[in-house]
């Protein structure tokens, strides 16, 4: 038999030897989940997908804040005597089994009446009865089956959010009107005169007029507003000729039916608006499960345990924390405020803030910053500052977080629309003045016809469809851009700035090198056995790296916090830890993390931990350097400088010891001298830089869990594809330019009819949708070809 995998979660279960019901499990947690499911007739869970589960995590005390009625009240969407509704975000939702089990929660507990999953958003909406069931119990139930919900400060005002569905309404109305008007205009397309038309035409025409009213006054409202705003700030954006076209279409058509001159262009009008809205809808495609607007609130806990003067524990809301409060931070809990350590072993993981993976040990009396995660048992702290005033959260009061990048960027469509509008207006005026001399009865007809036919529907559609399609192609390749503007801006950048830790280095991997005198077999066994007892992250790393040996039972083992470990077996003793601890005095200044070893009080050597760089980084930089200025801004010390200079092209600028504000200022400085900056980072410490840059891309090992506010999220495994993504964005720009050429050809043909005064409604009705559809087809085919090249 080959390697066994866990029936529940799919992890390796060869060595665990946990068997139940003829199935192997990797741990007791997974077995327990299976037991729960089989006891409740829910084993269908495993039929839908192989090994769909996750190992349940220990959550002792973690959700105690849900005992606080005020917090629960704020999380609930609906709260009446016997009915409570809550929506929980569950990151683990990933397959149809997940949907199935979560929608059958009512079988696990009778107090749950129903639950509905939104797969795209990874949420479950649970309807339960709080009479003998609480939100805390619900969360515990979910955690016990491996679906631990993620509750953050961001959730702390749900139920008040309104979904904006106006675009769907507008699209529906425009489509409805477009279809009906098309049917109503059919008789007149084919029969120009005759008794039948003369008798019934007015009815058809006024019906069309009625249908077009909501299209003009509701569906195209956004275009009028945008055009008005553009004109107010003296900008001829693309919505100006569109709004002008819609207005002229409506007025002329109305005039035509009022004075019984013709049918008007209601069909073209509604078709135009429908296609424009369709483009908007297509571009609006967003990633429901990702959030690009996250700030610290998405990561901070809602509640925290406060210890009052009598030593009683009480769950309070994070915003209620006051200066001087005594808080209890449990293992794996996030520190929400700046504070001073009073009691306990503080091992703080600041990776969340800085992207650094090393855990920092703190002594009582030391200052702890908000955003750190406690790793080793519970600690007690005294609060120094409230949430909003803490060091990390203050970064968000910087102005860059209130600036909208889209507003300050003139996109391709708007830059071309200026010349376009001027050209159209001059053609209209020239043609009109010509006809005023030759045949003044046709002058007004020609003037309006030019404005109608030149309405830049195709131009306005080119960008949304190209970028919209590319956005989805990128999404399939795990590069998630916030919107179309991001792709356009990505094509324009000339400087790329990288963060180091977590961005160009992998978070979870380190390479370790040993320097010093060789260890004997007995010493190696002793080293491994001692490391086995330690929970320090460096010990764990080292332990996993050393080859398997027999494990000794140690006679004596002692861990000195912040220094190292000392162990004894028979006559041999070993010390592992910092240089002074093992008695090594001639420490040459190295900036890298190192673990020193001595046996029987004799110094042996050290293990040095190096960052491991992502695969293909060297190649990527070589390809990028030809076209871009490359900079590395690291919050780290200069320990890796030598390594980096070897690895990266000579031109790359390296900066170390950069604080979050420094990074932001650096980017601002370069932007002022005209650079278009792409920032690539990962931690919350990059948040300012990501917001300041023209395009901020967050690298994420797990897109569902963590990423600071940014313009795009790139899956870490696709990091070496970065160059291809930028190139694809550039190709997208040329696709759009070609579409412009195509639509100019259509416009020229249309203008011929308009200028010569022979624009019949049927010509407009054919030409306008034809140009729109062919542009859509052209851009879609081109971007798909582009996407195939990316794969």
């Amino acid at each position: 038999m080959g390697a066994k995998t866990c029936f529940h979660c799919g992890l390796d279960a060869t060595s665990s030897e946990i068997r139940y019901d003829d199935k192997s499990f990797c741990c007791n947690g997974c077995k327990t989940v299976y037991e729960i499911f089989s006891a409740n007739d829910l084993t269908c869970y495993y039929d839908l997908q192989d090994a769909p589960g996750a190992t349940p995590k220990e959550i002792e005390g973690k959700y105690n804040f849900l005992d606080n009625a005020k917090i629960v009240e704020n999380l609930l969407e609906f709260n009446d005597d016997n009915t409570q509704i809550v929506t929980l975000y569950i990151p683990h939702i990933h397959c149809s089994s997940c949907i199935w089990i979560l929608e059958n929660l009512n079988k696990l507990n009778s107090s749950i009446s129903s639950s509905i999953v939104n797969f795209g958003k990874k949420t479950v909406r649970v309807n339960y009865n709080a009479e003998n069931f609480s939100l805390k119990q619900l969360v515990r139930l979910l955690s016990s089956i491996g679906y631990e919900p993620f509750i953050s400060l961001d959730d702390y005002s749900v139920g008040k959010k309104n979904v904006d569905r106006s675009l769907i309404y507008k699209l529906g109305i425009a489509g409805f009107a477009f279809g009906n008007i098309m049917f109503l205009s059919f008789p007149e397309y084919f029969q120009v005169s005759g008794f039948w038309i003369e008798q019934y035409a007015p009815v058809f025409r006024w019906l069309m007029f009625t249908f077009s009213i909501p299209v003009v006054f509701y569906c195209s409202l956004d275009y009028f507003i945008s055009a008005y705003k553009g004109l107010k700030s003296k900008l001829l954006n693309i919505d100006v000729p569109i709004a002008l076209g819609i207005t002229v279409l409506f007025l002329r058509s109305t005039a035509e039916i009022v004075f019984d001159i013709g049918t008007g262009f209601f069909d073209s009008l509604s078709g135009l608006v429908f296609f424009l809205l369709l483009g908007k809808f297509f571009q609006q495609k967003t990633y429901n499960f990702l959030s690009f607007e996250r700030d610290y609130k998405s990561y901070f806990p809602i509640g925290i345990t406060k210890i009052d003067s009598k030593g009683k524990e009480e769950a309070i809301q994070v915003y209620d924390i006051k200066k001087g409060d005594r808080l209890l931070i449990r293992n794996e809990e996030l520190i929400p405020v700046d504070c001073i350590l009073i009691k306990g072993n503080a091992r703080i993981d600041y990776s969340f803030v800085t992207g650094e993976s090393d855990v920092v040990s703190k002594q009582s009396g030391d200052k702890l910053f908000a955003g750190g995660k406690q790793q080793d048992g519970s600690i007690e702290v005294d609060v120094l500052k409230t949430v909003e005033q803490s060091y990390l959260t203050q970064l968000w009061s910087n102005d860059v977080f209130n600036k909208n990048k889209e507003d300050s960027f003139t996109n391709l469509t708007n830059s071309i629309s200026k010349q376009f509008t001027v050209a159209v207006l001059s053609i209209a005026i020239i043609a009109t003045s010509y006809w005023l001399i030759v045949d003044d009865s046709k002058a007004l007809n020609v003037f309006t016809a030019v404005l109608i036919i030149a309405c830049p529907c195709a131009i306005a559609l080119a960008a949304p469809f190209t970028f919209g399609n590319l956005l989805r192609i990128f999404g399939n390749l795990k590069f998630y851009a916030k919107n179309a503007t991001v792709i356009e801006q990505l094509a324009a950048i000339d400087t790329i700035i990288f963060d180091k830790t977590g961005t160009i280095t992998a978070n979870k991997e380190t390479s370790i090198a040993y320097e010093g005198s060789e260890l004997s077999e007995a010493e190696e066994v002793l080293l491994k056995s001692s490391l086995r007892n330690s929970n320090h992250p460096l010990s764990r790393l080292l332990y996993e790296l050393l080859e398997d040996n027999d494990i000794l039972t140690l006679d004596d083992y002692k861990e000195h916090i912040g220094k190292g470990i000392a162990a004894k077996h028979d006559t041999n003793s070993i010390k592992i830890g910092s240089a002074p601890f093992v008695g090594y005095t001639s420490e040459t200044a190295t900036l890298n993390t190192a673990v020193h070893v001595s046996t029987n009080n004799k110094y042996k050597g050290k293990f040095t931990f190096y960052n491991k760089y992502r695969k293909g980084i060297s190649k990527l930089f070589k390809r990028l350097k030809k076209e871009y200025d490359l900079v590395i801004l690291s919050g780290d010390n200069a320990g890796e400088k030598e390594n980096l200079t070897k690895l990266l092209p000579a031109k790359t600028k390296l900066f170390f010891n950069q604080k979050p504000e420094d990074k932001l200022e650096y980017i601002k400085h370069h932007q002022n001298s005209g650079a278009k900056v792409l920032m690539i980072g990962d931690g919350l410490n990059d948040a300012g830089a990501l917001a300041q840059s023209d395009v901020g891309i967050a690298i994420s090992e797990d897109v569902n869990v963590f990423s600071p506010a940014c313009d795009a999220i790139l899956d870490a495994t696709k990091f070496n594809q970065l160059y291809n993504f930028i190139r694809a964005s550039k190709s997208a720009i040329s696709i759009i330019k070609w579409s412009f050429v195509l639509s100019f050809i259509y416009n020229t043909i249309g203008l011929y009819f308009a200028v010569t005064g022979q624009l019949a409604p049927v010509v407009a009705a054919i030409l306008m949708p034809l140009s729109s559809i062919s542009i859509v087809a052209f851009t879609t085919v081109c971007t798909n070809v582009l996407g195939r090249k990316l794969r």
Binding site: I99, E103, N104, N118, G120, I168, Q199
Partner: protein, 61 residues
Amino acid sequence: MSVIYILLAVSILVAVAFFVVFVIAVKRGQFDDSYTPSVRMLFEDELIKDKTNKTILTKKE
């Protein structure tokens, strides 16, 4: 030929009826999640199978 008025009225009534249904559907949030329902639809069978299994078992006991 005046039957055309009736035909027009009927066709528009039908169209408006569909339109109203559409608006109600949007309002109820049926367009908010376009993926999960397609999966959920396939589950009904398994649920029923589960229940019948259960009844057979209880009968045997």
